[in-house]
């Protein structure tokens, strides 16, 4: 009876849930139509006055057919997007353990600072004398990146990790051409465990890809690399720590072999979060490495971007960096924007100077942490991943054996197989428990991969709840309680979605019914 008082007046006990509501809504879970079903093209929610009469200068090029876009009033707009937002999982709502994605907390200080008019309302082409503060911030961020990685230069333009990969590979291509080896060195070695962007970036820069298998422990064997090196090889693209969450322990030897063969070492820095302040890629023999500011330095992922992927470069590659870059002349910072001033530069990869909005956030994150805090972030991330590993390894299978991992732990679906379940089933059941699933089916070297990256953001209490829920699910699977998995998720805004239907008859835009 005391319990009842604690929770207030007892509601009438409903034995049978209401199967269907008139609206399709279920309490706070509100079904929301498309803007095209809500608004009308003749309405607008923006408060603008008609201009005074003017004589147009459009010639014969005035638009005749409207775009057909509805306008929603401000309150309609607020409701629409607030309702939609509530259908999303987010880091702010719970652990987001997507391996290789590094979903850590996004401090709101960084958001506020990026919105200062002195950063957000400056134009990339206004006179450089009027943006010295912005250039100083970029220069200082660049210095931090170089010190953290032990590298000599950094190219700031890349818009994302994959764009950084392309940038790094282009610098390598230019360096090879400068040595007169452009006609012969056309192959890039890429481990099988690599993220798909690596081979795609190498191919985009005009290279052919040769893949290198991993050995039984999930890392790369220097002998396998050596066997594939030769005068035709331009570079190796190696992720370290790798996509299995393991540090490539032979990285120094591999780098030496690559350099002896006259090739370059591109490191995919997607997992730099695990080692910052613990070791420096420059000391490991890296020639180029992109840094995902949206992972390591916590700029928000925003539902899939925007990110930023600056590339640190060794002395050997620095001269080939793309424009623009900064130069300090008599204490004044100046952007070098044209190849005519930097003849060895391989060119330009995009308009303007880079993702300033991300630079401000990342730099604020770095300053808030300092050298000591960044090191601790790496340590905490690695500790958290190993804590998860140690807490689940008796129930789940590890494809490369039982040993410490870096910032993420790789399980596979082998343990689920006997019960007729897959990694996907397990992931969907996690959704019902209120968690975002781990990364599944990546990396491809593990069959039915389940890659968990808790990041340093999670407290022990948060991890313990996560672990307890996963253990309960694992035990249910092993008991043969397959119903909990087969139809999951049961409690999300949507049940499993028919991806086959979506792909067979692609509907990529709304069209007026009957049109």
């Amino acid at each position: 009876m005391l319990m009842q008082q604690k929770f207030g007046p007892q509601a009438a006990r409903v034995e049978e849930p209401i199967a269907k509501t008139f609206t399709g809504n279920r309490g706070l879970a509100i079904e929301e139509g498309l803007i095209f079903e809500i608004g009308r093209p003749e309405n607008t929610g923006v408060d603008l006055n008609e201009p005074s009469p003017f004589k147009h200068r459009l010639g014969p090029f005035e638009r005749q057919e409207p775009a057909g876009l509805p306008g929603l009033s401000e309150p309609e707009t607020m409701r629409h997007y607030v309702r939609l937002s509530r259908l999303n999982y987010s880091i702010d709502a719970g652990i987001y353990p997507l391996g290789s994605c590094t979903m850590k907390h996004n401090p709101r200080l960084n958001e506020a600072l990026a919105r200062l008019p002195g950063f957000a309302d400056i134009h990339p082409l206004q006179p450089q004398s009027t943006v010295q503060g912005a250039l100083e911030l970029i220069a200082e961020l660049a210095r931090w990146l170089m010190v953290l990685t032990g590298m000599d230069a950094v190219a700031m333009p890349p818009r994302a990790g994959a764009h950084g990969e392309a940038c790094g590979m282009m610098a390598i291509k230019a360096a090879i051409a400068a040595k007169g080896e452009g006609g012969t060195r056309k192959t890039v070695l890429v481990p099988e465990s690599a993220h798909g962007t690596n081979p795609a970036s190498a191919a985009g820069a005009g290279f052919e890809v040769r893949s290198v298998p991993a050995r039984a422990d999930g890392t790369l064997d220097p002998a396998e690399v050596k066997r594939r090196l030769g005068p035709d090889v331009a570079a190796i693209m190696l992720t370290n720590p790798n996509t299995c969450g393991l540090f490539e322990k032979d990285v120094v030897e591999i780098a030496a072999l690559v350099h002896e063969a006259g090739a370059y070492f591109y490191c995919d820095g997607a997992n730099f979060n695990a080692i910052m302040g613990k070791t420096r890629p420059g000391d490991l023999g890296v020639d180029a490495m992109h840094i995902n500011l949206h992972k390591t330095f916590s700029t928000p992922h925003g539902g899939g971007g925007p990110g930023a992927g600056p590339v640190v470069l060794s002395t050997r590659l620095a001269p080939f960096a793309p424009v623009p870059f900064l130069r300090r002349e008599a204490g004044v910072l100046r952007l070098v924007e044209h190849q005519s001033e930097a003849p060895e530069s391989f060119g330009r990869i995009a308009a303007f100077h880079g993702q300033m909005g991300m630079f401000v956030r990342a730099f604020a994150y770095m300053l808030s942490h300092g050298a000591d805090g960044l090191r601790q972030a790496a340590e905490d991330a690695v500790l958290n991943a190993n804590y998860v590993r140690a807490s689940l390894k008796d129930l789940m299978s590890e494809p490369f054996g039982d040993k410490p991992c870096m910032h993420e732990v790789l399980f596979d679906e082998a343990w689920l197989k006997p019960f007729g379940l897959t990694a996907l089933d397990f992931a969907k059941a996690m959704i019902d428990e209120g968690f975002h699933p781990m990364t599944i089916y990546f990396p491809l070297v593990a069959h039915g991969a389940m890659l968990i990256e808790p990041t340093e953001t999670e407290s022990k209490a948060s991890l313990d709840l996560f672990i307890a829920a996963l253990r309960d699910l694992a035990l249910a699977a092993k008991r043969g309680d397959t119903g909990r998995f087969a139809g999951a998720p049961y409690h999300a805004p949507r049940r499993r979605l028919d991806e086959t239907r979506a792909a067979r008859n692609p509907t990529l835009r709304w069209t007026k019914p009957g049109a």
Partner: protein, 435 residues
């Protein structure tokens, strides 16, 4: 926690790093700062910059200062949008997916094309991807690039083409939109890339280029850097474009010193499977309710690897969300009005600058940006205007230093400019020219 893991100290977990390569002490960087200290330091840097809202501002050339309704920034800062990832688990990402579906529909409608993707990094990278896509479709390598294309975009196309060993023929700067492509378009040409309004602000008729291209099996790529123009100017789809690549920053996004922006990308249905980037499609869930998923993924790097249509892994998520929210507030009616204000302000500015001694407006047609010829060096003049507290456009030589166009300034005017701003611009220009 260490006990559960079975190690004595944290360093045991880093044992795979070769001992000689492990850092023994903190790097030569300052220790952590408090929130107040960080705020102070960065506010100090921000204060050294001349922000658009603080002075009369007419800078464009591919990025534009527009008014963004306050509700846009409020909505994109909701945790569920800001701190979520690419919607890999669609059951708990319908918010992001539905907004992408709405975005794709808006972009397709604006450009008058069949289908749009979930966005690219920005207009320049979208243009590079469009050229690569045209090469895949036509299995030809040569790209012909208009001299009216934004020089940074042209350089990016040239750089990427050089890397893949493909030809990119960039035509000389075309101030008066007078170029023709006739003999340049041949059986080896994959695409012609034309911008409208072009870099110098001229409006162009793309239909002639389209007819020329299509007669030879060549694709026409239409580029725009000012998306607001689509509220008033004939869209690329109505003039025969096959692929459209554009910059969407003007809607929903601030200048941000050049990034992050949002690249818009649209094409015809028949080329869907050669498109780069993420695509969101409509489907049903197991209970028969409408829902959205990422689709046609077999084009992408995580499946096709070195044979993918692009290496792009994300879109410009939050920037495209800002675009879509702002566009939802505008609708056709609001966009048209916004475009009319932009054009009216630019017409008024052009009249006012043409009245300054020795200054000539070169454009016959334009939307919200045009080129002026001044009796003096443009770069120095713009600097002098800045000293007088006016950001008076972009000297063409900033982007085309070796083109002999040292006396040209691009001037842009949007809905944020007032009559007083225009007067200040004209006065500053007069002053800068006469000193």
């Amino acid at each position: 926690m260490l006990a559960r893991v079975g190690v004595n100290g944290i360093d045991a977990l880093f044992a795979d790093i070769p001992e000689a390569k492990r850092l023994q002490q903190d790097l030569d960087l300052p220790p952590r700062k408090t929130e107040i200290e960080v705020e102070r330091l960065l506010s100090g840097l921000a204060a050294k910059n001349m922000a658009a809202g603080s002075v009369p501002f007419f800078v464009g050339a591919g990025a534009y200062k527009h008014h963004v309704p306050a509700s846009v920034d409020h909505l994109i800062q909701r945790s569920e949008f800001l701190t979520s990832y690419t919607p890999y688990q669609p059951e708990i990402a319908q918010g992001t997916l539905q907004t992408i579906f709405e975005f794709q529909t808006q972009v397709a409608g604006l450009t008058a094309m069949d289908a749009a993707n979930a966005s690219m990094y920005d207009g320049s990278t979208a243009t590079v991807e469009a050229v690569a896509m045209a090469r895949r479709i036509t299995k030809r390598l040569k790209a012909v690039v208009s001299g009216g294309l934004h020089p940074h975009y042209a350089e990016a196309v040239r750089t990427h083409s050089a890397m893949s060993g493909d030809e990119a023929l960039v035509l000389p700067p075309d101030v008066f939109a007078a170029e023709t492509f006739g003999s340049l378009v041949d059986d080896e040409t994959a695409c012609v890339v034309v911008q409208n309004p072009d870099f110098f602000g001229n409006l162009r008729d793309l239909s002639g280029a389209a007819a020329l291209c299509h007669a030879k099996g060549v694709l026409l790529i239409a580029v725009f850097t000012e998306v607001v123009s689509l509220g008033l100017v004939k869209p690329p789809g109505a003039m025969g474009a096959d692929i459209v690549a554009g910059e969407g920053q003007s809607i929903g996004n601030r200048l941000n010193f050049g990034g992050p922006y949002v690249g818009l990308f649209a094409t015809k249905d028949k080329y869907l499977r050669q498109m780069p980037g993420r695509l969101c499609g409509q489907t049903l869930d197991a209970a028969g309710r409408r829902g959205f998923v990422l689709t046609l993924s077999t084009r992408e790097q995580h499946i096709r690897r070195d044979k993918a249509t692009s290496n792009i892994c994300t879109n410009s998520g939050l920037a495209s969300l800002a675009f879509t929210i702002h566009m939802t507030l505008l609708g056709d009616a609001g966009l048209r009005r916004l475009a009319r204000i932009n054009h009216a302000n630019a017409v008024a500015l052009a009249d006012r600058l043409a009245a300054v001694n020795g200054v000539e407006v070169l454009n016959e047609t334009f939307f919200n940006e045009f080129t002026i010829k001044i009796p003096g060096d443009a770069a120095r003049t713009v600097e002098r205007m800045a000293e007088r507290g006016v950001l008076g456009g972009v000297p063409v030589s900033r982007l085309l230093p070796d083109a002999g166009l040292d006396n040209l300034i691009l001037a842009a005017s949007t809905e944020v400019n007032t009559d007083a701003d225009c007067a200040a611009f004209a006065e500053a220009l007069q002053g800068a020219l006469s000193c």
